[in-house]
Symmetry: C2
DNA sequence: CGATAATTCGAACGTTCGTTAGAATTAGTA
DNA sequence: TACTAATTCTAACGAACGTTCGAATTATCG
Protein backbone atom coordinates (compact mmCIF):
# COMPACT_ATOMS: atom_id res chain seq x y z
CA UNK A 1 0.00 0.00 0.00
CA UNK A 2 2.90 2.33 0.71
CA UNK A 3 4.25 1.61 -2.78
CA UNK A 4 0.88 2.39 -4.31
CA UNK A 5 0.70 5.58 -2.31
CA UNK A 6 4.07 6.69 -3.65
CA UNK A 7 3.28 5.68 -7.22
CA UNK A 8 -0.09 7.38 -7.21
CA UNK A 9 1.03 10.51 -5.41
CA UNK A 10 -1.71 10.13 -2.84
CA UNK A 11 -0.99 9.66 0.83
CA UNK A 12 -1.24 6.23 2.39
CA UNK A 13 -4.32 7.13 4.40
CA UNK A 14 -5.81 8.76 1.33
CA UNK A 15 -5.88 5.40 -0.43
CA UNK A 16 -8.06 4.03 2.33
CA UNK A 17 -10.60 6.73 1.62
CA UNK A 18 -11.24 5.06 -1.74
CA UNK A 19 -10.47 1.40 -1.01
CA UNK A 20 -11.56 -0.06 2.27
CA UNK A 21 -8.75 -2.62 2.35
CA UNK A 22 -5.82 -3.91 0.39
CA UNK A 23 -7.68 -7.13 -0.25
CA UNK A 24 -10.71 -5.31 -1.67
CA UNK A 25 -8.41 -3.31 -3.94
CA UNK A 26 -6.85 -6.52 -5.22
CA UNK A 27 -10.33 -7.94 -5.71
CA UNK A 28 -11.39 -4.92 -7.76
CA UNK A 29 -8.30 -5.22 -9.96
CA UNK A 30 -8.89 -8.90 -10.60
CA UNK A 31 -12.61 -8.46 -11.20
CA UNK A 32 -12.17 -5.50 -13.51
CA UNK A 33 -9.47 -7.22 -15.56
CA UNK A 34 -11.30 -10.49 -16.08
CA UNK A 35 -14.57 -8.74 -16.79
CA UNK A 36 -12.96 -6.53 -19.40
CA UNK A 37 -11.25 -9.45 -21.13
CA UNK A 38 -14.47 -11.47 -21.25
CA UNK A 39 -16.47 -8.50 -22.55
CA UNK A 40 -14.03 -7.77 -25.35
CA UNK A 41 -13.92 -11.44 -26.25
CA UNK A 42 -17.70 -11.74 -26.54
CA UNK A 43 -17.83 -8.70 -28.82
CA UNK A 44 -15.14 -10.09 -31.07
CA UNK A 45 -16.67 -13.53 -31.25
CA UNK A 46 -20.10 -12.21 -32.25
CA UNK A 47 -20.82 -13.03 -35.87
CA UNK A 48 -17.83 -15.32 -36.43
CA UNK A 49 -18.87 -18.92 -36.92
CA UNK A 50 -15.78 -20.80 -38.13
CA UNK A 51 -14.45 -22.76 -35.11
CA UNK A 52 -10.80 -22.30 -36.03
CA UNK A 53 -11.28 -18.58 -36.54
CA UNK A 54 -13.07 -18.33 -33.21
CA UNK A 55 -10.17 -19.97 -31.38
CA UNK A 56 -7.76 -17.62 -33.12
CA UNK A 57 -9.86 -14.69 -31.94
CA UNK A 58 -9.74 -16.08 -28.41
CA UNK A 59 -5.95 -16.28 -28.48
CA UNK A 60 -5.50 -12.84 -30.02
CA UNK A 61 -7.92 -11.22 -27.57
CA UNK A 62 -6.11 -12.78 -24.62
CA UNK A 63 -2.59 -11.91 -25.76
CA UNK A 64 -3.49 -8.43 -26.94
CA UNK A 65 -4.97 -7.48 -23.60
CA UNK A 66 -2.27 -8.95 -21.43
CA UNK A 67 0.68 -7.77 -23.48
CA UNK A 68 -0.84 -4.30 -23.26
CA UNK A 69 -1.33 -4.69 -19.50
CA UNK A 70 1.60 -6.75 -18.27
CA UNK A 71 1.32 -5.46 -14.71
CA UNK A 72 -2.29 -6.61 -14.51
CA UNK A 73 -1.26 -10.00 -15.86
CA UNK A 74 1.37 -10.34 -13.17
CA UNK A 75 -1.14 -9.50 -10.46
CA UNK A 76 -3.62 -12.04 -11.80
CA UNK A 77 -1.02 -14.78 -12.07
CA UNK A 78 0.79 -14.11 -8.84
CA UNK A 79 -2.11 -13.24 -6.58
CA UNK A 80 -4.54 -15.81 -7.93
CA UNK A 81 -4.95 -17.45 -4.53
CA UNK A 82 -4.58 -14.36 -2.36
CA UNK A 83 -8.27 -13.56 -1.90
CA UNK A 84 -10.39 -14.91 0.94
CA UNK A 85 -13.69 -16.74 0.64
CA UNK A 86 -16.10 -13.98 -0.32
CA UNK A 87 -13.84 -12.21 -2.79
CA UNK A 88 -12.31 -15.42 -4.05
CA UNK A 89 -15.58 -17.00 -5.13
CA UNK A 90 -16.74 -13.97 -7.08
CA UNK A 91 -13.50 -13.82 -9.05
CA UNK A 92 -13.55 -17.59 -9.45
CA UNK A 93 -16.97 -17.31 -11.07
CA UNK A 94 -15.73 -14.92 -13.77
CA UNK A 95 -12.65 -17.06 -14.34
CA UNK A 96 -14.85 -20.11 -14.68
CA UNK A 97 -16.99 -18.34 -17.27
CA UNK A 98 -13.88 -17.45 -19.26
CA UNK A 99 -12.64 -21.01 -19.01
CA UNK A 100 -16.03 -22.37 -20.09
CA UNK A 101 -16.08 -20.14 -23.15
CA UNK A 102 -12.77 -21.65 -24.21
CA UNK A 103 -14.08 -25.15 -23.55
CA UNK A 104 -17.04 -24.31 -25.76
CA UNK A 105 -14.79 -23.16 -28.59
CA UNK A 106 -12.80 -26.36 -28.31
CA UNK A 107 -15.91 -28.52 -28.44
CA UNK A 108 -17.14 -26.67 -31.51
CA UNK A 109 -13.86 -27.48 -33.22
CA UNK A 110 -14.03 -31.12 -32.18
CA UNK A 111 -17.57 -31.48 -33.49
CA UNK A 112 -16.99 -29.76 -36.81
CA UNK A 113 -13.75 -31.59 -37.60
CA UNK A 114 -14.73 -34.83 -35.90
CA UNK A 115 -11.64 -34.75 -33.67
CA UNK A 116 -10.89 -36.70 -30.52
CA UNK A 117 -8.84 -35.15 -27.73
CA UNK A 118 -9.14 -34.21 -24.08
CA UNK A 119 -10.79 -30.80 -23.98
CA UNK A 120 -9.52 -30.16 -20.47
CA UNK A 121 -5.88 -30.79 -21.31
CA UNK A 122 -6.19 -28.83 -24.55
CA UNK A 123 -7.72 -25.77 -22.88
CA UNK A 124 -5.32 -25.77 -19.96
CA UNK A 125 -2.34 -26.25 -22.26
CA UNK A 126 -3.49 -23.29 -24.30
CA UNK A 127 -3.89 -21.17 -21.18
CA UNK A 128 -0.41 -22.24 -20.13
CA UNK A 129 1.14 -21.18 -23.43
CA UNK A 130 -0.59 -17.83 -23.27
CA UNK A 131 -0.23 -17.03 -19.59
CA UNK A 132 3.39 -18.04 -19.23
CA UNK A 133 4.22 -15.17 -21.54
CA UNK A 134 4.30 -12.78 -18.59
CA UNK A 135 7.54 -14.44 -17.50
CA UNK A 136 9.42 -13.91 -20.74
CA UNK A 137 7.89 -11.35 -23.07
CA UNK A 138 10.16 -8.42 -23.75
CA UNK A 139 8.61 -5.77 -25.99
CA UNK A 140 12.07 -4.71 -27.17
CA UNK A 141 12.93 -8.21 -28.39
CA UNK A 142 9.72 -10.11 -29.01
CA UNK A 143 7.06 -9.66 -31.65
CA UNK A 144 3.74 -7.99 -30.98
CA UNK A 145 0.53 -9.65 -29.82
CA UNK A 146 -0.79 -10.23 -33.31
CA UNK A 147 2.25 -12.13 -34.52
CA UNK A 148 2.64 -14.19 -31.35
CA UNK A 149 -1.06 -15.01 -31.46
CA UNK A 150 -0.52 -16.21 -35.01
CA UNK A 151 2.39 -18.45 -34.03
CA UNK A 152 0.79 -19.84 -30.91
CA UNK A 153 -2.42 -20.38 -32.84
CA UNK A 154 -0.47 -22.31 -35.47
CA UNK A 155 1.19 -24.52 -32.91
CA UNK A 156 -1.94 -25.15 -30.94
CA UNK A 157 -4.40 -25.62 -33.79
CA UNK A 158 -2.13 -27.95 -35.73
CA UNK A 159 -1.76 -29.85 -32.48
CA UNK A 160 -5.51 -30.24 -32.27
CA UNK A 161 -6.26 -30.82 -35.94
CA UNK A 162 -4.31 -33.98 -36.48
CA UNK A 163 -5.66 -35.72 -33.41
CA UNK A 164 -7.25 -39.11 -33.99
CA UNK A 165 -10.50 -38.79 -35.89
CA UNK A 166 -13.62 -40.64 -34.80
CA UNK B 1 10.40 -18.68 8.47
CA UNK B 2 7.98 -19.12 11.37
CA UNK B 3 5.85 -21.41 9.19
CA UNK B 4 8.90 -23.48 8.28
CA UNK B 5 9.86 -23.68 11.93
CA UNK B 6 6.43 -25.03 12.79
CA UNK B 7 6.34 -27.45 9.88
CA UNK B 8 9.82 -28.78 10.56
CA UNK B 9 9.44 -28.98 14.33
CA UNK B 10 12.60 -26.95 14.84
CA UNK B 11 12.61 -23.61 16.60
CA UNK B 12 12.78 -20.41 14.62
CA UNK B 13 16.29 -19.63 15.80
CA UNK B 14 17.30 -23.22 15.13
CA UNK B 15 16.63 -22.75 11.43
CA UNK B 16 19.19 -19.98 11.36
CA UNK B 17 21.81 -22.39 12.63
CA UNK B 18 21.53 -24.24 9.31
CA UNK B 19 20.52 -21.47 6.91
CA UNK B 20 22.12 -18.09 7.26
CA UNK B 21 19.13 -16.25 5.80
CA UNK B 22 15.73 -16.79 4.28
CA UNK B 23 17.08 -15.71 0.93
CA UNK B 24 19.90 -18.24 1.02
CA UNK B 25 17.42 -20.97 1.89
CA UNK B 26 15.29 -20.01 -1.09
CA UNK B 27 18.41 -19.99 -3.22
CA UNK B 28 19.34 -23.49 -2.09
CA UNK B 29 15.84 -24.78 -2.90
CA UNK B 30 15.90 -23.27 -6.36
CA UNK B 31 19.43 -24.42 -7.10
CA UNK B 32 18.83 -27.95 -5.84
CA UNK B 33 15.60 -28.33 -7.79
CA UNK B 34 16.90 -27.09 -11.13
CA UNK B 35 20.15 -29.03 -10.76
CA UNK B 36 18.26 -32.23 -10.05
CA UNK B 37 15.92 -31.79 -13.00
CA UNK B 38 18.80 -31.08 -15.38
CA UNK B 39 20.80 -34.06 -14.09
CA UNK B 40 17.92 -36.49 -14.51
CA UNK B 41 17.23 -35.12 -17.96
CA UNK B 42 20.80 -35.63 -19.15
CA UNK B 43 20.78 -39.22 -17.94
CA UNK B 44 17.54 -39.97 -19.73
CA UNK B 45 18.63 -38.32 -22.97
CA UNK B 46 21.88 -40.27 -23.14
CA UNK B 47 21.76 -42.82 -25.92
CA UNK B 48 18.48 -41.64 -27.45
CA UNK B 49 18.98 -40.09 -30.87
CA UNK B 50 15.52 -39.66 -32.40
CA UNK B 51 14.64 -35.94 -32.10
CA UNK B 52 10.95 -36.55 -31.46
CA UNK B 53 11.72 -39.13 -28.80
CA UNK B 54 14.19 -36.76 -27.15
CA UNK B 55 11.58 -34.02 -26.90
CA UNK B 56 9.12 -36.50 -25.42
CA UNK B 57 11.75 -37.44 -22.84
CA UNK B 58 12.22 -33.77 -22.03
CA UNK B 59 8.49 -33.30 -21.45
CA UNK B 60 8.11 -36.46 -19.39
CA UNK B 61 11.15 -35.64 -17.24
CA UNK B 62 9.83 -32.17 -16.53
CA UNK B 63 6.28 -33.20 -15.70
CA UNK B 64 7.29 -36.24 -13.70
CA UNK B 65 9.52 -34.23 -11.43
CA UNK B 66 7.20 -31.31 -10.89
CA UNK B 67 4.03 -33.34 -10.42
CA UNK B 68 5.93 -35.32 -7.80
CA UNK B 69 7.16 -32.09 -6.18
CA UNK B 70 4.33 -29.58 -6.59
CA UNK B 71 5.49 -27.45 -3.66
CA UNK B 72 8.91 -27.04 -5.24
CA UNK B 73 7.25 -26.09 -8.51
CA UNK B 74 5.21 -23.41 -6.78
CA UNK B 75 8.32 -21.97 -5.16
CA UNK B 76 10.18 -21.88 -8.47
CA UNK B 77 7.30 -20.25 -10.31
CA UNK B 78 6.28 -17.80 -7.64
CA UNK B 79 9.67 -16.78 -6.31
CA UNK B 80 11.49 -16.68 -9.64
CA UNK B 81 12.40 -13.01 -9.21
CA UNK B 82 12.84 -12.98 -5.45
CA UNK B 83 16.62 -13.45 -5.32
CA UNK B 84 19.14 -10.61 -5.32
CA UNK B 85 22.09 -10.18 -7.65
CA UNK B 86 24.52 -12.80 -6.43
CA UNK B 87 22.00 -15.57 -5.85
CA UNK B 88 19.89 -14.60 -8.83
CA UNK B 89 22.67 -14.94 -11.39
CA UNK B 90 23.72 -18.39 -10.20
CA UNK B 91 20.17 -19.72 -10.49
CA UNK B 92 19.72 -17.91 -13.79
CA UNK B 93 22.75 -19.77 -15.13
CA UNK B 94 21.23 -23.18 -14.41
CA UNK B 95 17.88 -22.09 -15.82
CA UNK B 96 19.62 -20.88 -18.95
CA UNK B 97 21.34 -24.22 -19.34
CA UNK B 98 18.00 -26.00 -19.04
CA UNK B 99 16.46 -23.62 -21.55
CA UNK B 100 19.36 -24.11 -23.95
CA UNK B 101 19.02 -27.89 -23.81
CA UNK B 102 15.43 -27.51 -24.92
CA UNK B 103 16.45 -25.13 -27.69
CA UNK B 104 18.97 -27.75 -28.81
CA UNK B 105 16.32 -30.44 -28.95
CA UNK B 106 14.08 -28.18 -30.99
CA UNK B 107 16.82 -27.39 -33.47
CA UNK B 108 17.59 -31.08 -33.89
CA UNK B 109 13.95 -31.63 -34.78
CA UNK B 110 13.94 -28.74 -37.22
CA UNK B 111 17.06 -30.01 -38.96
CA UNK B 112 15.98 -33.62 -39.24
CA UNK B 113 12.47 -32.88 -40.47
CA UNK B 114 13.40 -29.75 -42.39
CA UNK B 115 10.91 -27.62 -40.48
CA UNK B 116 10.61 -23.88 -40.20
CA UNK B 117 9.39 -22.25 -37.02
CA UNK B 118 10.53 -19.85 -34.32
CA UNK B 119 12.54 -21.88 -31.83
CA UNK B 120 12.10 -19.26 -29.14
CA UNK B 121 8.31 -19.19 -29.34
CA UNK B 122 8.18 -22.97 -29.57
CA UNK B 123 10.34 -23.53 -26.51
CA UNK B 124 8.60 -20.88 -24.42
CA UNK B 125 5.19 -22.15 -25.44
CA UNK B 126 6.20 -25.63 -24.37
CA UNK B 127 7.47 -24.35 -21.03
CA UNK B 128 4.19 -22.50 -20.63
CA UNK B 129 2.11 -25.60 -21.23
CA UNK B 130 4.19 -27.58 -18.77
CA UNK B 131 4.70 -25.00 -16.05
CA UNK B 132 1.14 -23.75 -15.93
CA UNK B 133 0.19 -27.18 -14.65
CA UNK B 134 0.99 -26.11 -11.11
CA UNK B 135 -2.12 -23.92 -11.18
CA UNK B 136 -4.56 -26.68 -12.11
CA UNK B 137 -3.27 -30.20 -11.62
CA UNK B 138 -5.31 -32.17 -9.11
CA UNK B 139 -3.96 -35.67 -8.49
CA UNK B 140 -7.44 -36.86 -7.54
CA UNK B 141 -8.93 -35.77 -10.86
CA UNK B 142 -6.16 -35.55 -13.42
CA UNK B 143 -4.08 -38.22 -15.06
CA UNK B 144 -0.52 -39.00 -14.02
CA UNK B 145 2.64 -37.45 -15.42
CA UNK B 146 3.14 -40.12 -18.06
CA UNK B 147 -0.26 -39.68 -19.63
CA UNK B 148 -0.23 -35.88 -19.51
CA UNK B 149 3.26 -35.91 -21.01
CA UNK B 150 1.87 -38.07 -23.80
CA UNK B 151 -1.01 -35.67 -24.48
CA UNK B 152 1.04 -32.49 -24.27
CA UNK B 153 3.70 -34.13 -26.40
CA UNK B 154 1.05 -34.96 -29.00
CA UNK B 155 -0.30 -31.42 -29.06
CA UNK B 156 3.11 -29.79 -29.16
CA UNK B 157 4.85 -32.13 -31.61
CA UNK B 158 1.98 -32.12 -34.08
CA UNK B 159 2.09 -28.36 -33.78
CA UNK B 160 5.75 -28.38 -34.78
CA UNK B 161 5.64 -31.11 -37.40
CA UNK B 162 3.29 -29.52 -39.86
CA UNK B 163 5.03 -26.19 -39.87
CA UNK B 164 6.08 -24.87 -43.26
CA UNK B 165 8.90 -26.94 -44.73
CA UNK B 166 11.96 -25.37 -46.30
C1' DC C 1 34.18 -38.86 34.41
C1' DG C 2 35.10 -33.93 32.67
C1' DA C 3 35.69 -30.77 28.94
C1' DT C 4 35.00 -29.10 24.59
C1' DA C 5 32.15 -28.68 20.55
C1' DA C 6 27.80 -29.03 18.29
C1' DT C 7 23.08 -28.22 18.48
C1' DT C 8 18.72 -26.17 20.00
C1' DC C 9 16.03 -22.85 22.12
C1' DG C 10 13.23 -18.73 24.39
C1' DA C 11 13.07 -14.11 24.11
C1' DA C 12 13.79 -10.25 22.18
C1' DC C 13 15.60 -6.56 18.43
C1' DG C 14 14.36 -3.38 14.77
C1' DT C 15 11.66 -2.99 10.51
C1' DT C 16 7.83 -3.28 7.56
C1' DC C 17 3.10 -3.99 7.00
C1' DG C 18 -2.10 -3.08 6.90
C1' DT C 19 -4.96 -0.04 9.00
C1' DT C 20 -7.10 3.96 11.48
C1' DA C 21 -8.08 8.21 14.37
C1' DG C 22 -8.47 12.78 13.99
C1' DA C 23 -7.05 17.09 12.27
C1' DA C 24 -6.41 20.03 8.15
C1' DT C 25 -7.73 21.36 3.81
C1' DT C 26 -10.63 21.88 -0.22
C1' DA C 27 -15.07 21.94 -2.86
C1' DG C 28 -19.86 22.77 -3.13
C1' DT C 29 -23.83 25.38 -1.95
C1' DA C 30 -27.03 28.76 0.28
C1' DT D 1 -19.88 35.29 2.74
C1' DA D 2 -20.66 31.27 6.03
C1' DC D 3 -21.72 26.51 6.53
C1' DT D 4 -21.54 21.70 5.29
C1' DA D 5 -19.68 17.84 2.95
C1' DA D 6 -15.97 15.76 0.60
C1' DT D 7 -11.29 14.99 0.33
C1' DT D 8 -6.54 14.55 1.90
C1' DC D 9 -3.09 14.45 5.23
C1' DT D 10 0.17 13.48 9.45
C1' DA D 11 1.00 10.47 12.85
C1' DA D 12 0.49 6.67 15.00
C1' DC D 13 -1.21 1.70 16.43
C1' DG D 14 -0.64 -3.30 16.71
C1' DA D 15 0.68 -7.34 14.28
C1' DA D 16 3.86 -9.93 11.52
C1' DC D 17 8.27 -10.32 9.66
C1' DG D 18 13.56 -11.57 9.25
C1' DT D 19 17.06 -11.92 12.27
C1' DT D 20 20.15 -12.32 16.45
C1' DC D 21 21.78 -12.79 21.35
C1' DG D 22 22.97 -15.58 24.90
C1' DA D 23 21.72 -19.32 27.59
C1' DA D 24 20.45 -24.19 27.80
C1' DT D 25 20.88 -28.66 26.20
C1' DT D 26 22.96 -32.56 23.88
C1' DA D 27 26.67 -35.08 21.58
C1' DT D 28 31.68 -36.29 21.19
C1' DC D 29 35.76 -37.99 22.94
C1' DG D 30 40.18 -37.88 25.88
Amino acid sequence: MRDLSKASGMSLAGLYYYFESKERLLFLIQKHTFTTVVQRLKKRLAGVTDPEQRIRIFILNHLEYFLANPAAMKVLSHEAEALKNGFASEVAAIKREYYRICVGLMDELKRERRLEFSTRIAVLSLFGMMNWIYTWHNPRVDADAEQIAQEMGDIFLRGMMNSTRR
